[in-house]
Symmetry: none
Subunit: 218 residues, 4 copies
DNA sequence: GATGAATGAGGCTTCATTCAT
DNA sequence: AATGAATGAAGCCTCATTCAT
């Protein structure tokens, strides 16, 4: 799919594997803890016990380090997504049960990754590459879930089921992301209850998918 | 409502009105153009043709300048909201027409202000005061629109109309904000079509409000 | 004696007398409260309710304002000194009673003025003129007290009474000033007790003045 | 005794020793030459031929640099004090010879360090840590000399020899410090003659220590 | 004369990046 | 390859002084 560019300067040496791993862990942690604005290489160097020089031996720039972090995080998210989707698919659920299941699982996935996703969003404001990759990834990720929902296409009453599923799922995604503080405007977030939100979104989705424009007339 | 603190050391002379206006315009523009991360007072000073010192004669800090910009923007948004709401209310629409109207108008409002709202979101990550004021403002703003929708309470079939309206509107808000890039995760945004989104959201909302949990059984 | 240069630009107007007085009071207070390092004209202007422009109409510079403050303070100190000296002189005391009296009164005088003397010391480090005037004044002031002590010259056993009084009094002065924190090295100060210090200094002085080098032999 | 905090981010490489030494020398010199008020890091950077950044690699702040300078200076003073005291103690002098010796040596010590002590006093007005360390150090330093004098306790006629030595030595200290311009009020200083001052202080001290309150009666 | 807005040099500090060892 | 010291541009902020009104 996306053939992720290698942001690593050199192929991996034997023992340096460990130090690279320390580097990436420390960097991820710091990104999560401090946010992008307060993420500095000096601190990464200190926590990872890897010299600044070594960081620059591996990465052309701070940007590149972050890009690799993003890549790893999103790849990991992708793997978990696939597992979740497979697990759900096996249950062969009817739409009425599938929708809550999908929403809950997707929500939990985002919830699990919100720590790293949030700073990456900040980076997106500044790094085109991170922005693009994030977009691509999210689109793909969403598409997978949409496809899963479409396996119950026959139960959907909307005239254009593909289109309907696509749209409602993006709305669901927006609501979840906003709740998790993955948006900036997410001032408002934090008030409600997570379980309640998942429930409401399921209801909204089902009402929509099981509805038909004609029902709205008069 | 919120009694906005004065971040301004009010100038007592007159000629300075103009330069203050230049200052605020330049600052707003630059905030919109560059985003918070690249918003520097030196650049504001240059564009506004106002010395650094002058900025500090009026504002205690960079933070305070931004706070005033926020205040002005949100107050202006509030005024426009009030006008929009009044205009809609006068039409005495039925729910089926009210919902699209409200969503379209609210969407257009956010759309109009997205330029300044976006950097303010970034600031929220760093300035408690901006965060708090933004939250308060948004909550109030949303509440006004919810109240407007609730004037058709009788037409809503959901068992708890207030709760239903509250939840669906926040979902609508999330979807709009995400489309407008007011979220950080809004990588995905930009793909669809604005008018189509408004339309979909109206449909989703109506299907939900005119539905009833019992319909989902079986 | 010293013919103090006029640091005031213009002779005093009618109503502006008041504002000049406000200016000087505010400046003195702030100098005392904040110390020289944090003494700014903007703050003086604010507290005195006198515009920055007005300050510069009267004084060529910040330095000049401070110089006038010094002048006034030291003149006032001079007047009080004279009164104190006269009062003591009238008592016609013997040396054994005169010395404690002089030391106590002189100490109290310094104590009363320490608030303004301290920041003036800081200024001395930076303004030659303040340094010179301060020196001259102090020398004169000390000389007056020395002269008072010399009225009991006959009771002094030291071979060169003038010289002895001069030296011991400067030592007394140093000890008092240090105790009052008028020195920078006065880290050490603050430990003892003021009354005890006055007492000790009197004893030391008397032992010295009533002594004779020959006593120290063997 | 005092376990001096390390204000230094210890360099781990070797070539930096030299530049650190250059840095500290330049900083000390400039502090002495300019006084605290005009001591700027830019100038230190220029004179030491060390970049601003390097200074901040080693010190958290300007304050910390000065604290290290203080520490070094006072430690050096302490070492010299110890040597001086030992040297004097070995002579096993009688009080009449001990006092002049102690005063002369102590005076010379202060004289040698007055250059750096003066600006450190200014700093004390602003940095609590420098103030505290300076106080502690001075107290200890004085205590050592007092102890030396007390080895002739038997020759002292004052009823409370410890108390008497303590008080007179602090007076001596004040006089020396003032002469050396280590006080701010030390406008007056510079007039007399250093050797003469030492002599006078010795006489004053001896007259006091060899005296008795009863001698002053009548 | 008075007012106070405007100026701008200069201080401290941060941090991505380079480079000698 | 690794290390970490060195660099310096750039940001924020202060405050004495000037100057238009």
């Amino acid at each position: 799919m996306t053939t992720p560019k290698s942001y690593l300067k050199e192929p991996k040496q034997n023992r340096s594997k460990a130090s690279l791993e320390r580097l990436l862990s420390a960097a991820s942690e710091l990104l999560i803890e401090k946010g992008y604005k307060d993420f500095t290489l000096q601190e990464v160097s200190k926590r990872a016990k890897v010299s600044i020089g070594s960081i620059y031996n591996r990465f052309k720039s701070k940007e590149d380090l972050i890009r690799l972090i993003q890549q790893r995080a999103l790849e990991s998210l992708e793997v978990e997504s696939a597992m979740v989707i497979t697990r759900i698919r096996r249950k062969q659920l009817k739409l009425r049960l599938l929708v809550p299941e999908v929403i809950a699982e997707y929500g939990n996935l985002l919830n699990k990754y919100k720590g790293i996703l949030r700073p990456l969003m900040e980076v997106s404001a500044v790094d085109e590459v991170v922005l693009a990759y994030g977009k691509t990834h999210a689109a793909q990720n969403i598409a997978d879930f949409i496809q899963l929902l479409l396996e119950c296409k026959d139960e959907i009453s909307q005239p254009a089921p593909e289109r309907a599923v696509d749209h409602i799922f993006k709305v669901v995604y927006a609501a979840l992301a906003r709740y998790l503080g993955l948006g900036i405007m997410d001032n408002v977030s934090g008030e409600g209850d997570w379980e309640e939100l998942l429930d409401d979104l399921s209801q909204i989705t089902l009402h929509y998918l099981l509805g038909h424009p004609d029902n709205l007339k008069e």
